[in-house]
């Protein structure tokens, strides 16, 4: 091969590679202003020190209802939420597997609402849960387990194939955040300070069958086993969201499951009064998710349980961690102010 040919091939390959990378960066959704949920999974990897005592795993009922900042401030517990919108049980399992590549927490808290889903649901939510994961075998298996019929693995490997037609809807964010990004969560917590009282929360419709599906149980079993193998205490919780409706039959199944597997199961919905939740003030969307006030109350309540049950040490004495959390607290406070500050009842 002549020198000229080698140069030509090298140049062509560079042009192709660079242009495709640029196009992909331009066209993939940035998830920084509108649908920030798509950014949360990826933010975990940016944590400088992955040495968490508690990892929350689950759907919006974890990333909107618990504040790691409060867990630190009140109990000295270092925690992180690995949650995304409609995160399915198998996605949570593989996300936990992925997390264990970086650290070994003492406690994993899993929100059980996702047990209601036994099959892949929605491509948009899949994307938000899966795209942020770093490539690993866990991610591949999670994609395989999550894909709806219309999806294809190659579109996860090369997102440009999925988002190629987004050129019609490009906005300012797509340029601004082409090479950088913006923090959207606080250790995985999605903060909202606005208030929309819960009114006329609908009763759950009668179901033909209340039994959780085999596939959901399979991955919950795997999660239990994974925690056992790694010496991690698994806690099952049901967050205190009023909707989607949490049936008594579902609750019984979870209680039984926890008892059979020697796990702690906490239904925070039933403990709403004890927590002090006021659904006319503590939710920002009519009871689906808690706002900052509701989340802080719920976190305090759960933090007490975690400390009592598992004797998690107060790590405020760790100067390095303390410094990190102080910086996070400043950002946390700034976000509260950006959203209009604490609203008095």
């Amino acid at each position: 091969m002549t020198r000229q040919k080698i140069v030509r091939i090298g140049l062509s390959a560079s042009v192709i590679g660079i242009s495709l990378i640029l196009l992909q960066r331009l066209l993939v959704p940035k998830y920084v202003t509108d649908v920030v949920e798509g950014r949360m999974i990826a933010e975990y990897y940016e944590e400088s020190d992955k040495d968490h005592d508690v990892i929350f795993i689950g759907d919006c009922e974890v990333y909107e209802n618990f504040s790691p900042q409060v867990l630190w401030d009140d109990y000295g517990i270092n925690s992180y939420i690995r949650g995304s919108a409609q995160q399915l049980v198998w996605q949570s399992y593989y996300l936990l597997e992925d997390t264990l590549r970086y650290e070994q927490p003492d406690v994993v808290v899993f929100n059980v609402l996702a047990m209601k889903y036994n099959t892949p649901q929605n491509e948009a939510y899949n994307r938000m849960s899966l795209e942020g994961m770093r490539w690993s075998w866990s991610k591949v298996l999670s994609i395989e387990a999550s894909m709806t019929e219309e999806e294809n693995l190659i579109e996860y490997v090369f997102p440009l194939l999925r988002y190629h037609s987004r050129w019609q809807e490009l906005g300012k964010d797509d340029i601004t955040y082409m090479f950088r990004t913006k923090q959207v969560s606080f250790n995985g917590y999605y903060m909202r300070t606005d208030i929309k009282p819960a009114e006329n929360v609908p009763e759950g419709k009668k179901l033909a069958d209340y039994t959780f599906g085999d596939n959901a149980y399979l991955y919950l079993d795997k999660m239990v086993q994974l925690c056992k193998d790694n010496g991690i205490r698994l806690v099952l919780i049901k967050a205190p969201s009023l909707y989607p409706y949490w049936y008594d039959e579902w609750d019984e199944q979870m209680e039984q499951y926890a008892a059979q597997n020697g796990l702690l199961y906490v239904n925070l919905l039933e403990a709403a009064d004890e927590i002090g939740l006021d659904y006319s003030r503590d939710t920002y969307d009519g009871g689906l998710h808690l706002n900052l006030y509701g989340a802080e109350k719920t976190t305090r309540y759960l933090g007490r349980i975690l400390q009592q049950e598992y004797g998690l040490a107060d790590r405020h004495q760790d100067a390095r961690l303390e410094a990190e959390w102080q910086a996070k607290a400043a950002a946390y406070e700034a976000e509260i102010q950006r959203q209009g500050g604490y609203k008095e009842p």
Binding site: V15, S19, L23, E123, E150, E155, L160, H164, S165
Partner: protein
């Protein structure tokens, strides 16, 4: 497996990898395996049909060849003992045996095609007749599987059988090699309808790796992808909106739908054929061209010589000529000359043979009256043009317009419009509706929709129209360049930077502007349905 699916691209990648790694003498075996795998992926039951056609046509052809060999040997052996009469008698007997074998092969396979493709159409029409005569009974339609590409592989196999009968090609002795001819996957589902003596020259040959062949093939595939994904699958959104809502879209919308459909059908079908020929070229195999810039035709007759060429020649060679010279037709010719004179008498057999060809062409495209009327519409237009030919000649002679560019353009536009009008039968659900919708073009008077923004409500945005306009302009430019020979070769003669920009630009256009992935329907290639 749609040609434009990821699965197919992966399938092709694996095949190409293996094809040039294994010993060249096994390449055709690999192709056979992959062809059956391709068919199997669509539906395992399809295999039953293609295997049946393969085996029956193979056996018929081998038998015909054996009879011919027997005849040759017998005549050679008894060269001296047989007089002319005895030889003729023997030949006649043998010819009859061969004819019976041919007939058996044809009837059996056309029977399969008729049952799976046309039985329900016949039942539907029979039920209409029964209802008309007040019969309360109704025949239930059959629940039959229509194998992918059955019209294409059946016609290809039967063309081979007829060729063997005619002695224009030898029968393939190896069943597996013949199976590859019938099932060669790139052309299995939408043609071209290849002839055995042409395709077999490269199909079974050993093909060492040839970089320029591979690159040429990939370029052709890319061009096919552009036509299919950027143009056809985009414009079909507008076509479907118009034709599926006839109450909402009449008048000028019908005209718009007609013209959109002309562009869509061209881009879809020629794009599919580009991919087919490109894949074959990557494998070192030469597949016959199926189009020759048909929208530059100056008459319908010329158009049909340049559009779906292999189907046209198939009907001409295996229906038109045999019917024209068959004994009953010759008798009819004699009869009509005697009773109606030479002028009309010599036309009747031609008209009748053409009628049969166009009826067959129509029904080949689909089991519905729409296609039959469409086919016969073509026949009427061609026959009328033929009758008016002397008038045209007179007109051309008097006004000296034949060589004028504007007149050529007029002829081209006229042909495109005429073909588009006939194609409205492809679009609407039945013949009366087609006539009604066609009529609204002249009665509704809503031509303002062409410029008042109404076209933006067809599911296509401004950006889509810009892409379509640019895409169609590119198709026209490429067609114009093709007059000077292969465009790929013209590009290949340019400096490297130009070549790179051309092909990588086309790749990016497909990648970014292509209509594919979630949010779009994976549109089947139109001709896959035949």
């Amino acid at each position: 497996m749609l040609f434009t699916s990821y699965e197919f691209l992966f399938f092709l990648l694996i095949l190409l990898g293996l094809y040039y790694v294994i010993p060249a003498r096994f390449q055709w075996v690999l192709l056979l395996g992959f062809s059956y795998l391709f068919y199997l992926a669509a539906n395992p039951w399809y295999l039953l049909y293609i295997l049946t056609t393969t085996v029956t046509v193979y056996l018929s052809a081998v038998r015909i060849e054996k009879i011919r060999a027997e005849q040759k040997a017998y005549l050679a052996q008894n060269k001296d003992s047989l007089d002319r009469e005895a030889r003729k008698k023997y030949k006649g007997r043998q010819q009859k045996r061969m004819w019976h074998m041919l007939l058996a092969g044809l009837l059996f396979n056309l029977g399969i095609l008729a049952v799976v493709k046309y039985a329900n159409f016949a039942i539907h029409n029979l039920n209409i007749v029964l209802h008309t005569f007040g019969s309360p009974s109704e025949i239930r339609p059959l629940d039959l599987l229509l194998p992918m590409g059955i019209s294409f592989y059946t016609f290809q196999a039967l063309g081979y059988l007829i060729d063997v009968y005619r002695g224009s090609c030898s029968a393939e002795k190896n069943l597996f090699r013949f199976a590859l001819f019938v099932s060669f996957f790139p052309q299995l589902i939408q043609g071209p309808i290849s002839r055995f003596h042409e395709l077999s020259q490269t199909l079974y040959a050993e093909h060492p790796f040839d970089r320029s062949q591979l690159l040429g093939g990939l370029q052709r595939i890319l061009w096919g992808f552009f036509k299919k994904l950027v143009i056809a699958d985009r414009i079909i959104i507008g076509v479907n909106e118009i034709i599926k809502n006839p109450e909402q879209y009449s008048g000028a919308y019908v005209f718009v739908g007609m013209m959109f459909y002309a562009a869509e059908l061209y881009a879809d079908f020629t794009g599919g054929i580009d991919i087919t020929i490109g894949i074959a070229q990557c494998l070192g195999i030469v597949v016959t061209e199926n189009f020759n810039r048909p929208y530059f035709s100056k008459s319908i007759k010329e158009y049909w010589r340049r559009w779906h060429i292999t189907m046209g020649t198939w009907f001409t060679d295996y229906i038109f000529y045999p019917v024209s010279i068959c004994r009953p037709m010759l008798k009819l010719s004699q009869f009509s000359r005697k009773h109606f004179g030479d002028v009309i008498g010599k036309r009747i057999p031609v008209y009748l043979s053409s009628f049969l060809v166009w009826f067959a062409t129509g029904i080949w495209h689909g089991a519905s009256w729409n296609f039959i009327v469409w086919g016969l519409g073509n026949w009427v237009v061609i026959m009328i043009s033929q009758e008016f030919e002397p008038c045209y000649q007179k007109f051309h002679g008097k006004f000296h317009v034949k060589d004028k560019n504007w007149f050529r353009l007029f002829q081209i536009v006229r042909t495109v419009l005429l073909m588009s009008c006939l194609r409205t039968f492809d679009c609407y659900r039945d013949v009366p509706l087609t006539f009604r919708m066609f009529g609204t073009m002249f009665t509704t008077g809503n031509w303002h929709i062409l410029w008042d923004g109404s076209l933006l409500a067809l599911g296509l945005g401004c950006a889509d129209y810009v892409i379509l306009a640019a895409g169609v302009a590119l198709l026209i430019c490429v067609s114009l360049l093709q007059r000077r020979g292969s465009v790929r070769q013209q590009i290949a003669a340019k400096p490297y930077a130009v070549r790179f920009a051309a092909w990588y630009g086309l790749f990016l256009a497909v990648l970014i502007l292509g209509v594919y992935g979630i949010g779009y329907d994976a549109n089947q290639f139109i001709y896959n349905q035949f």
